[in-house]
Symmetry: D2
């Protein structure tokens, strides 16, 4: 029943089917807008619904990108012309929406986390497996051009056995501390992406995590049990070790890179620049600035996600990240949160 997407999905490689797939976007917030725009512009999808309990937000998106605005998901699920759903609703609604999609036989991509609890996430995985729908976790970073290249080359054996990994990720500007309860906090929200990448890149299973955190950016994060700065180590069953440097604010832009060190070499992505102009002047050489935020840095990967989704629905190709991948990353995140609270390494139970 458990399936992981370990193969490399190279964005753009798969022939995108020309037949239009009716699609609904659940959630009209920041990420919902990204998806609504991309679905609207995509050659394989037809945007039929934008759904949000905050009906005004849904209406705004629908006016710009098409489709019918609704507050409730029922009409979309009942509509036979809708074959696909992007679940970009609030985290607390993910489980309900994923189960509903699976029940209604709709293919779906669910933004992480799959559910508010590990039990809920397991239920989503099981339900989708039982119904046989195409289902993916929204780990768009797997489809980033450079991360996909690092993965393909690593899994091809170019650097030998993977021994260590290092991930740095800091957003440009911190979110409001009061959104922490909603997002689950930095470890769950940001960490999940990198716990997934680490498992994917090693081809191994995470077995233990140790995490320390601090509130150095804004002490108010502590009021919500969250941290804004964290250092983590994860041990994998292959013996590989990974370190993670996370933060909520980098004054210079989206501070993100990955390094995969192996027995035969190392693959490293740079911090992505905006442009390629160097300025030489007295005492300094100034290069192009770093990409300002995740939005700009990863814009292409959200489009690639739709390519992969369409190919999976039409040609039966694998999705880029399965629901089980989402469950695994969520399990690591939960263990990491516990590690911070209890200040001890926490074994990761193999529930995926």
């Amino acid at each position: 029943m458990t399936q992981h997407s370990r193969g490399i999905i190279t964005p753009g490689r798969s022939p995108v089917p020309r037949s239009m797939i009716g699609c609904a976007v659940f959630g009209a917030g920041v990420i919902g807008e990204v998806h609504a725009r991309n679905v609207s512009r995509h050659g394989s999808f037809d945007l039929r619904y934008v759904i949000d309990p905050a009906i005004d937000r849904a209406r705004t998106l629908a006016q710009t990108w098409g489709g019918t605005a609704a507050a409730d998901i029922a009409p979309a699920l009942a509509d036979d012309t809708v074959a696909a759903v992007i679940i970009a609703s609030s985290t607390s609604a993910h489980e309900e929406h994923a189960l509903a999609c699976a029940g209604a036989g709709k293919a779906f991509i669910c933004e992480k986390p799959l559910a508010g609890s590990l039990e809920g996430a397991r239920a989503c995985v099981a339900s989708a497996a039982a119904s046989g729908v195409v289902a993916a976790t929204g780990f768009n970073r797997r489809l980033d051009h450079d991360y996909a290249a690092v993965a393909a080359r690593t899994l091809d054996g170019e650097i030998g056995a993977v021994e260590m990994l290092h991930f740095a990720s800091r957003g440009h500007k911190p979110p409001a501390p009061e959104t922490a309860p909603h997002s689950g906090g930095m470890i769950r929200e940001k960490g999940a992406h990198f716990f997934d990448l680490a498992a994917w890149l090693t081809g191994a299973e995470p077995v233990e995590v140790y995490a320390v955190g601090a509130c150095l950016v804004d002490p108010r994060f502590a009021d919500y049990g969250d941290v804004d700065t964290a250092a983590l180590t994860v041990r994998f069953d292959s013996g590989a070790l990974a370190t993670f440097d996370f933060g909520r604010r980098a004054v210079f832009g989206q501070d993100e890179l990955i390094e995969v060190f192996g027995s035969q070499g190392m693959l490293v992505t740079g911090r992505h620049r905006r442009g390629n102009v160097a300025h030489f002047t007295g005492g300094a050489v100034t290069e192009a600035e770093v990409m300002p935020g995740w939005h700009e840095r990863f814009a292409d990967s959200y489009v690639a996600e739709l390519d992969v989704f369409a190919a999976a629905m039409t040609h039966g190709e694998p999705v880029h990240a399965s629901l089980a991948d989402g469950l695994r990353a969520q399990a690591v995140a939960e263990a990491a949160v516990r590690s911070i609270k209890q200040n001890r390494p926490v074994a990761i139970e193999r529930i995926w």
Copy 2:
């Protein structure tokens, strides 16, 4: 009457009008296809005609991107719903097409060169000026993100007075030598872009050129009076000097960079990479490959060209490169070709 576009048009800055502008693309070759696709996808243009004497090529494009295929330009010029034309036809047809557009009151972008002769090019400039239509030369490199940034910063005075410029441009793979009579040869085809950039970046007028050429890539270029390797120097009326390294084949991709050296500093663009992954292994660090060709390297700039064109037609904003800019670049190219033939520096007559 003479007008140059010296201001900086920052791609994407201008608000793109939402009203749809009927557009015809003349020419269904490689560059015609680029324009047809971009017009079709653009929010401000509606692709009405794809026109090529080779009607089959026109039909293929029209089927994919929309519009009516035609072998003749007459119906498009007579169609009141067509307000804009992209002249991407063969060089020998440019003059006729530009004059026809001006006569019919259609705004147009004309690929360079404007005509097969300087006299013809002057006629195009005069005709467009007389009719008052919006008209631009297809110098898309002015709208490349990095070149536009270099220009904006240079013209803002960031590096003081411009003293020297260096341009390198070599395509990945050489064109067939027998296309030389058609394209006008490397100096006219490739050089025009950089003669235009040099004038734009210096804000000065070119007064003399010296050029040497050779056939080192393929001796057959000589059979057509063309060269595949060339080194040029151009002197400007400001005193600034420019060197140009041109070639028809770089085994590693599109080899292109610009350097602007000034009294207070220097601005340099790198050779653009595809991706941002470094591979460390025994005895070497291997970076991402260079962009494979002009197509990939400058894809965005062709879209930006449509943005600017739409803004010019709708809001009266300046075009990125006027017809007079095209005439000037063509005059430099003709002088450079003469310089190679006569092996002497050739003064550039100020006809623009």
Copy 3:
């Protein structure tokens, strides 16, 4: 009594005294040879003795670089013309040699660790303090051009408050596993440098460490209780967090960099290249190789160490790293070793 060297010693800034200081080098192994050569060539030092129980090794060095070879340190300590000693003997002899130097009133630089035990190290610190001799720990990386620049700029406040640090250090080729008991193992040998750098760069005290290790390079390291791959996190009393990626083998050379992330920006050193030549060819851009080993990478810093030592002895300037700095780094290393063994975070007792 406790003193740390927190100020920045910029190599080469201090005026090097021209008066010659008589100097003995204890130990004629790899690092002893580095020091003997540098002392011999240095304008302020006169190499008087090279001392090693393996008298042949001492003789070889003395023949090449000067001075008298001896098996025993007594003659050098009794020689009034000897004012300075470089303790580069085997780790097990450090404590005895340091105490002897302090007792004889000789200034000394002691390679880390100061002693085989923390108690021994404390005795060295106390003894040197009591005798008032100039004494330094051989933390040469503090005098590396780039690390010194990062420290100076960080302590000047250029990046605001230090929030996170990341250190990667992997040697090119692993040492023989059977040297582990002698060197103390990777955490003590390699780690000490970086625990010192981290304390120096943060201006804060380390309070807790968590470390995981593995034998991925050579399983025989486990036979000696050592690891060849390790990931560590250290928490500082300022709240700053540091991650460390350590390894014993990087096929591409000395793999080392430091990153200091602060509230106002970040300072990063690159992996140091040998030369500055890029090779562009089909499908790849290949840059100069990484520095092959610590020997080449840090050669200059050992010379700078002598500059600083001479200035300290002659002008009373501070040393680059005090004995207390050495003690602190050793304390962190011991805690890290314990953390690996017990798989739990270990509090670092403040004994320095």
Copy 4:
């Protein structure tokens, strides 16, 4: 009789003889000081004389670096313990000094140009050949680590046939214009190095040069018939083309790079940085500054020159650059100067 040094002399490869070679340095100016210091510190040379008509300057150098100060070269030439001479005197004295060395059987390195006229330079070449002394032109750039690597890899065929070369060289600060008559001006002084490198890298002979110059840095250079900004093209008998961008002032440091483009790839040196620290902050990434001047950039190559000289004297190995190489570069420079004056391409007479 004509001999060129085309082989690659890798600095440091040749075993440096330990026997001391008595050496005199002619000239106690800026470059004389560089040589006096290096000779004094070099393991194979013994500095016996520092000679300058300005006896005070000679005395100052001799006091610091050793040897006897003299105003006249006669005693040194008569001294049998002197086997080698570095001719770093004023350009107007080069010919006399080179002929005197050849006549006295002293090996010598002569700074370029060999003489004030091409006839004088030919006389130097002939005289040294007749006497059979080891003689070299002071083209230290051939011994720069990176330039030597580019040459070795190019001559090994790594990039196929050399088709184009580009050289940029601009000093940090301009010399006083009134030194132009003394130095011969920018084209002769700076250009000679790069005309030599170009011939070396192509393995071909220069046949024609075209040069344009301007006084953009300081109009007073024109008062002395000099230029401070110049663009040149040189054609080689292999068909290869080279462009040169020269200038007297780059506000950001020594602005120098070389590019060699071939049929199979390209080798490029970067602009050399001082250090390897990147600073990321709001809106910018600032890298280490460029090397401030030729002094710092090429310090190592002057030492390597002595290594090669010693090996040539002791083991009969080839010098890095023959006198004929110096003559050739001088011939190109003279033709380039004529080209600027007459504004036409000038054929380079094959006199070397």
